[in-house]
């Protein structure tokens, strides 16, 4: 099941909701499984649009700490090797 998730991710970009439609798994479950794949080292997780770590946060009009544009999950070396087999 988890491998199928990886294969679907490899097939193209999308949101977790779209992926859950394609796989027929409910969205909340899927997001847990994605985290489990992250923990097992098969996916990389990135919080996007987070200004943390930037020295200009305090003075930058574009930064706002409350906003995260979501979390993206992408394949990494380990999962690509797995899918290549």
């Amino acid at each position: 099941m988890l491998k199928k998730i990886l294969m679907e991710i490899d097939a193209g970009c999308g949101s977790v909701r779209e992926l859950s439609d394609r796989l027929g798994i409910d969205g909340e479950t899927l997001s847990l499984q994605l985290r489990s794949l992250v923990q097992q080292g098969y996916l990389s997780e990135h919080k996007t649009h987070s200004c943390r770590g930037c020295p200009f946060t305090a003075s930058c009009p574009g930064s706002s700490n409350s906003c995260t544009a979501g979390t993206s999950f992408s394949l990494n070396k380990k999962s690509r090797e797995l899918l290549a087999d």
Partner: protein, 676 residues
């Protein structure tokens, strides 16, 4: 008697620990690790007669594999110390994730009591949990709690004591890992019982077998210590065989099937009417992030935003203008009454009123722009916009992660260029950095808001700024594609993205966001822009003999030298000077206009400008401003991030050439269309 408290992080473990132990706590570290260890004695009122019970707080973990120190500590404690009872604190509103750990405790053969915490949250989310059913399926007692209100703590203590005394029977559970794996597990278990009976006794043969198949480094090394002969050949072959048969790594299969088991439990014990908010979010997203509709909708929303900014901003702007006019006359009479020297009066008037004041006139528009952005951000729309753009960007060959950097660019290109660091591939990084200055930063937006309001009717101004955004998107796409073709090959980068649910923004939140940004803007106007305005005034007033801003003044001379370069674009020397100062910071372009044009007469700056420039000229000027050399700070950071003057120089050169060409085209197309 020992109670171990386990659970995922943030499930209320500390809250329960404090409620059970009260003030008597000992805090230290787990041996050999910097992970905090907390111990305490169960409160007197729960203790029954002789045996005092100690409560040990295990590190918060999501599972019992050997991926982290915390997981190992929790696992080893349960195996070696054999606590009389393990209390697993579970977040009832997140059953699935939390049961993953609980299932592993059961597999490990722990004497488990489940504390079902956060029942209030689950209830609020419309989740009904059948506690009795859950307890039956997991084969252990389950106690519902709302720990932070102290609800259920007494019951938990009571049930845990009973369980510790063996008065509540556990039913072992066995997760079925599927026929293929079960065969393997059985064979392996036999081996284990025969070859390493001591370990089998301690951990249970099946558990060890599962861990060996999962390739658990800690277990494998323990097995090897115990019996070297089993280690070398035998163990790995089991995992390899299974992997070949399954066609995927065994740890993935095992995790999948464990989730399958948990899913089964959840199906029969949890009644979910999913949260209204999430359902609605999903429905909205079906439209907003639709692959076909996403981009048109994004453009429509941007268009509406700019329209709103100018239409609502117009009356407010007139108010501020009147205010600044009043301030100017007060200043004049004040300076007059204290007999200040004429040069000083002039300097103050030019710098404060013409320079800074002209920036402030547009404050209402800018405030509205920031408000609109804050609304889009706080509702969660910006996340969708980023997602939609990201998908489009991947199509044109930009790395999926570049968009983080590009989105930041709408605020300021400096941190945006730095954010490109998250890209590991050098080529991807370089492309992202080079394209970045084309993203119209907040400062440039301010210049556009100013010029559009000065030159165009409020109804048209929104369209003007919107069209500039379009130009910038097209250029980002075109240059991205070009750089991709000429600098580097694209690597496929698929991803999925999880978007936070939409929510109705709070007034306070909106105000805070708007205020933060406005504060920065005003600060800059009061300091940096003020300073530059003074410098410009000086350059425009001297040498002494020169007429203010005339061709003999320093600024006039410089402007005239460079003017020929921009003549084909139709800029006069004042526009040229404004552009040059814009290199320091784009906002300066506004005050440059103020200083250079504003002094001429008492009419408002807008009307003076409207006489000097045609709308088409203004538009060409805006196009040039949009694209040409990013500001000084951005260039510096490009140099820093690419570690080469070559690329910094290239960024200056290519953007200026591009700006010139684009402006030239716009001028001629516009003239041909009869806008001249």
């Amino acid at each position: 008697m020992v109670f171990a408290l386990a659970g995922n992080p943030n499930t209320g473990k500390s809250t329960v620990f404090n409620a059970l132990t009260g003030a008597h706590q000992k805090i230290g570290n787990w041996p050999g690790a910097t992970v905090e260890k907390k111990e305490g004695m169960l409160k007197k009122r729960y203790q029954k007669a002789k045996k005092p019970a100690k409560v040990v707080d295990l590190p918060g973990t999501y599972s019992l594999s050997a991926y982290t120190k915390e997981e190992l500590i929790a696992r080893d404690f349960v195996v070696h110390t054999k606590p009389d009872v393990v209390i697993d604190i579970i977040d009832a509103s997140n059953l699935e994730r939390n049961l993953y750990l609980a299932a592993q405790f059961k597999e490990l053969g722990a004497n488990l009591v489940i504390a079902l915490n956060m029942m209030d949250v689950a209830h609020r989310r419309g989740q009904k949990i059948d506690v009795k059913k859950l307890s039956e399926l997991l084969g252990c007692p389950v106690v519902p709690l709302v720990a932070d209100q102290g609800k259920g703590i007494d019951e938990l203590a009571e049930v845990s004591l009973l369980a510790a005394e063996g008065k509540i029977k556990q039913r072992p559970i066995s997760i079925n890992y599927g026929k293929d794996l079960e065969e393997e597990l059985e064979k392996l278990s036999k081996h284990i019982c025969q070859d390493i009976p001591a370990l089998a006794e301690k951990y249970g043969p099946r558990w060890l077998a599962v861990k060996i198949l999962e390739n658990d480094a800690d277990v494998i090394s323990k097995v090897c210590e115990e019996d070297k002969s089993i280690c070398g050949s035998g163990l790995e072959s089991f995992s390899k065989d299974a992997e070949e048969r399954l066609g995927e790594p065994v740890d993935i299969t095992i995790a999948s099937r464990r989730y399958g088991f948990i899913n089964g439990i959840i199906k029969s014990s949890l009644q979910k009417s999913p949260e209204e908010r999430i359902i609605r979010s999903d429905q909205i997203d079906r439209i907003i992030t639709n692959p076909l509709l996403g981009i048109p909708l994004f453009l429509l929303i941007m268009y509406a935003m700019f329209q709103l900014v100018f239409l609502l901003g117009e009356p407010l702007m007139l108010g501020v203008e009147a205010g600044i006019g009043a301030f100017a006359s007060v200043l004049v009479s004040l300076l007059h009454s204290v007999d200040s020297p004429p040069w000083f009066s002039e300097l103050l008037m030019v710098a404060l009123v013409e320079g800074v004041g002209n920036v402030l006139i547009f404050l209402p528009n800018i405030l509205l722009l920031f408000l609109a952005i804050a609304i889009l951000e706080d509702t969660g729309y910006m996340a969708r916009a980023a997602f939609v753009m990201n998908r489009a960007m991947q199509k044109i060959g930009l790395h999926g992660k570049s968009f983080i950097s590009l989105v930041l660019g709408f605020g300021c290109n400096v941190p945006a260029v730095m954010a490109a660091r998250t890209l590991k591939n050098e080529d991807d990084r370089l492309i992202t950095i080079l394209v970045n200055p084309l993203v119209p930063c907040a400062a440039r937006m301010e210049v556009f808001v100013f010029l559009a309001a000065a030159f165009f009717a409020p109804e048209a101004a929104g369209q003007v700024v919107f069209s500039l955004m379009l130009i910038s998107f097209i250029l980002i796409a075109a240059m991205g594609l070009l750089f991709r073709k000429s600098i580097a090959k694209q690597e496929k980068q698929p991803f999925v993205m999880e978007l936070p649910p939409y929510h109705v923004p709070t007034l306070k939140g909106l105000f805070m966001h708007m205020w933060q940004r406005t504060k920065v803007f005003v600060q800059k106007a009061g300091t940096f822009i003020f300073l530059v305005a003074i410098i410009m005034w000086f350059l425009a007033s001297y040498p002494q003999s020169a007429e203010y801003g005339g061709p003999e003044s320093y600024i006039g001379m410089a402007g005239h030298v460079i003017e020929p370069l921009f003549q084909p674009l139709g800029f006069d020397w004042r526009g040229t000077v404004a552009l040059i100062f814009g290199f320091l910071a784009k906002e300066v372009v506004i005050s440059a206009f103020g200083v250079l044009y504003g002094v001429a007469d008492d009419a408002s700056l807008g009307s003076t400008l409207a006489l000097a420039w045609t709308p088409l000229q203004a538009y060409v000027f805006m196009v040039f401003t949009l694209i040409y050399v990013p500001c000084f700070a951005t260039i510096a950071v490009i140099k820093q991030e690419t570690n080469s003057w070559k690329w910094a120089g290239f960024a200056i050169l290519y953007s200026t050439v591009l700006a010139w060409i684009a402006a030239f085209l716009v001028l001629h197309v516009g003239t041909a269309l009869g806008y001249g």
